[in-house]
Amino acid sequence: MIFESLLLSMVVYAFFVALVLALIRRDDTKARLKYGLVLFAVMTVGAVAFGWFMFLFIKK
């Protein structure tokens, strides 16, 4: 089964979204690279952080 890891699925999804949005929203190569990396980092780190935040509310 492809992509059993939800974390990997999320990272690949973030990569493609960051790639497309960086190409659309910025005009020169350097700005695109910076914007894409920031976007990718925000999506992946944010999702992991939110995942740990939800862990606080787990029912035991």
């Binding site: 992509f3 939800l6 690949v12 493609f16 790639l19 190409l23």
Partner: protein, 138 residues
């Protein structure tokens, strides 16, 4: 609205990146095509669902008018519009019955999100092609 912009926008919607390719933005066109095609392909491989407009095939003219969307789960209308962004691929999925959705798989939700995300990104790519065609952007 500029006619050229509208034409390249429709081309970009039908095939990801085509709107840029016809305007000689080849690198961007290839990257858009690869990214969006990969997302849609991965979504299908993960068992994701492509939402149709109709719950059942319309039988009468009245069905076309009054049974446009799924009434038992109206939020799927949003998923339908997101999936519609895949353009030609969406039309092919209707013809060849791709994207039926495999609910029993753990990757079903992510697969569905991949396909919907690809469609939404392609709407943005098509609008970007319009901006270039209309002379608002290089």
């Amino acid at each position: 609205m500029k006619i050229k912009g509208v034409i390249v926008m429709l081309l970009g919607w039908a095939v990801p990146g085509l709107g840029h390719a016809v305007q000689k933005k080849y690198v961007r066109a290839v990257l858009f095509f690869v990214a969006i095609f990969a997302m849609t392909g991965l979504g299908l491989a993960m068992g994701g669902k492509i939402y149709p407009m109709y719950l059942e095939p319309p039988r009468t003219v009245l069905d076309y008018l009054f049974n446009l969307f799924r009434k038992e789960n109206p939020l799927t209308v949003l998923a339908f519009f997101a999936d519609l962004g895949n353009g030609l691929f969406y039309a092919l999925s209707r013809v060849f019955s791709w994207g039926g959705g495999q609910l029993e798989r753990a990757t079903f939700e992510f697969g569905t999100a991949y396909i919907a995300g690809a469609g939404l990104l392609n709407f943005l790519v098509a609008l970007d092609a319009y901006d270039i065609g209309a002379g608002k952007k290089k």
